[in-house]
Symmetry: C2
Subunit: 485 residues, 2 copies
Amino acid sequence: MWKPDRKNDSPLYMQIADYIEQQIISGEFPPGSLLPSERKLAEKLDVNRSTIVLAYSELRALGLIESRPGSGTRVNSTKWGTIPKQSIQWDQYLQPANAVSPKGLQKRVRDALQQDASLINLASGELNSDLSPIDEINQFMKIQKYQEMLGYNDPLGSIKLRSAVANHLQSENQIQTSNASILITSGTQQALYLICHYLLSPGDTIAIEDPSFYYSMPMFEDAGLRVFRMKLEQTDQQGETSLSSDLHQALKKNRVKMIFLNPNFQNPTGAVMSEDQKLDLLLLTNDLGIPIVEVDPFSLTAFQSKCPQPLKSSDSIGSVIYIGSLSKTVAAGLRIGWLVAPRLIVEKLAEARQLIDYGQSSLPQQVAAEFISSEHFQAHLGRLRLHLLYKRDLLIEALQLHLSELVTFEIPEGGLHLWCELHFKVSETKLLDEAIKQGVVFMPGSVFGKETGHLRFTFARPDTDKIAIGVQRFAKALHTVLQTP
Amino acid sequence: MWKPDRKNDSPLYMQIADYIEQQIISGEFPPGSLLPSERKLAEKLDVNRSTIVLAYSELRALGLIESRPGSGTRVNSTKWGTIPKQSIQWDQYLQPANAVSPKGLQKRVRDALQQDASLINLASGELNSDLSPIDEINQFMKIQKYQEMLGYNDPLGSIKLRSAVANHLQSENQIQTSNASILITSGTQQALYLICHYLLSPGDTIAIEDPSFYYSMPMFEDAGLRVFRMKLEQTDQQGETSLSSDLHQALKKNRVKMIFLNPNFQNPTGAVMSEDQKLDLLLLTNDLGIPIVEVDPFSLTAFQSKCPQPLKSSDSIGSVIYIGSLSKTVAAGLRIGWLVAPRLIVEKLAEARQLIDYGQSSLPQQVAAEFISSEHFQAHLGRLRLHLLYKRDLLIEALQLHLSELVTFEIPEGGLHLWCELHFKVSETKLLDEAIKQGVVFMPGSVFGKETGHLRFTFARPDTDKIAIGVQRFAKALHTVLQTP
Ligand SMILES: Cc1ncc(COP(=O)(O)O)c(C=O)c1O
Ligand SMILES: Cc1ncc(COP(=O)(O)O)c(C=O)c1O
């Protein structure tokens, strides 16, 4: 990000005016296009708003831009030297603008994080860098020979990585499969995109859990899918949960074409479906002929118990599309994920992926293949589990210390997140704003489809020594909001 | 790819039967799904067809599969042990099957290359591995610290790579831009995908050159776009070419919403638009308010002359979306490309990309940033140009030796390809089949939208010492086809 140079002789406002002029001339801001508001630009460039006011007035004097009350500051489209009067109406290419980006409170969280790197981040669903195997990855990069695979890749992904994933799935997840039934993807995200756009059609209905991380993604809206919120379980008199008895009816009535699930250490709740529920669900959906998409990025994080088995490991008729990823166990920035499905499905999605990007870069594929087939991977997972458990406990301790009267939560046995229920009704927007003011961010429950009263804390993301302070700040924000009418 | 083990005591057909049984049990071939034909499977596993006949008969005896004349061999869907009778009708998820994959002769070329690695490859549009800077890349991987960027990336791509690309564009292509107007993509392919799906809408008309590499991509069909074939130039009495005078009319009449061009060393023709044509075209399209998408992966390969300037370097109102890539100058397997456009467009496409795959892997971004900002990059480009020139000349020599009476071509001054016109009418299918029989592949002209009578040879792809032999084989194939009625 360019910033004006305070040691430069030229005044800040002139530097900024020159900079914007150059961007107008190079077409980055075309004639007629909107410039950032004075307030926004001031924030971005770390200067006073009055500096931007001067810079814009300079550009106005040059005839480069014009400001109209209510419609902001725009690049001049009429007095434009040698350039033809008519220019591109880019606006028409920007419709519909909203189907692709996160909205509302999620966007607010993202913007806050972008603007202020010092916020304690209990919001982003990723590992802190101290949980990623940086040394091992550096080691592999040092010894690796990047010799083959310089041309376009195999559409399914590198055979070495697919073999490594097949072995990994067999030994860690009890999933039997073979190379030709695996597609390497750019994380689970791309696997989901491929399914939504290339196996389903606009107008199709899919079913998802409630709450679910899917609500945080504009994915389904973009693909034109209808979403049916599933109530998965019911509790009997003994307090035992079982598969909801109306589920069959509901799936049928809504003509559900696919079910999207995250059965192990679900995001955001941390819940694990029981073995019985998994088997019941498979029977039920097989009976209805509805395939399941199982997203399983967390099962290997199980803190203390055995890793829960995926649905896919009990799937003997190929009714489950299984999706995994290294994002939550190694590094999200690697963008390595995989999809396991019947052969024909994998082949179709591989073709679709060719169309989208000609396949994954061979570099991270090679590093991932080496890493997951090495002994270092197991050692890393062991350390990761201990670390996550430690961070979870720090979070719980802090919650008990500062918020025990105000929130309830289930203790997650794996994953990166903890899901809280608030005992009091508060405005999510106010709470988030106040938290940001106090220097901490969390994910409001509505981002996951819950009405107010819930929120997600990610213990994996903040620095270990910041967890308690983060919760303290959050508690302060909550108290403030509760006290203001 | 699994193959039966010839040293194993168990007979080949039993090994194959066991292997397929396991894949049926693990759901890779679901109940009711089609197995490969005996001939295809035999080819794939490198055994006699009779071995597959035996293996399938074994599986039939177990009740696992059934064969019906005319409908091939399928996994049994009725007598299926403990599995519910109803299973997933995957077929309904595979429609429409054809919009995503290459078809016809292009598919034939790809299949042939997959089946027989010994074919001389004059078809694939990529560099031979001896033209890629393998040593340099290995060097960078050795010294690099993969420290930051383990979490999710900046939606626009790594700031380091964007800065490197901005400098690169300024010094090599005379394009003025800044970080915030650059989006890193997974090659030009993904940049095109983003534009087709997120700036255009189904039913929109776009204009492309004729011939063009776009015909080889199912991209436009998948996005539901209408394609208008543009006649760009006309020749006057003096033999000078200028922009076609009906172009204005034609673009307007067809309500063209965007123009896709590859003005420098065009694929497949190798043609370079003149400076005048470029400026005329910009004036004309600005006048009509139609943006141009300029795909420019080849301009830095200019063999002897100065690199031709992109349209984008003369674009002062942001009417050109510029797309570049390292695929044709460094390595296609890296999957590093970029898109330069007005700020708002870049921001929208960055959001769309988040939705598709959460961004490019940070590893190749880091390697690419280091490489293109190092002195090694210039040295590599210098070597690449000399090498390509040498290979082009070998191809031309061979064509003159073996085909001088049969083909005409323009000599390309950059790029990877040479475009030939055949003097005789022949069936493309027959010619390709015969060439494959002789041990060589080329790209038939119809893949690029030309009726018969043209073809593309890629001199960059084959090993240097195979170019002459490849042409000789092709000549033999052509003679054979010309002699058979
Ligand atoms: C359950 C779940 N699946 C998938 C993703 C996306 O991960 P990736 O595409 O990096 O694998 C997330 C991200 O938060 C997630 O929580
Ligand atoms: C003109 C042109 N653009 C783009 C591509 C795709 O390249 P990339 O690897 O950058 O996606 C090709 C591939 O052949 C091409 O010829």
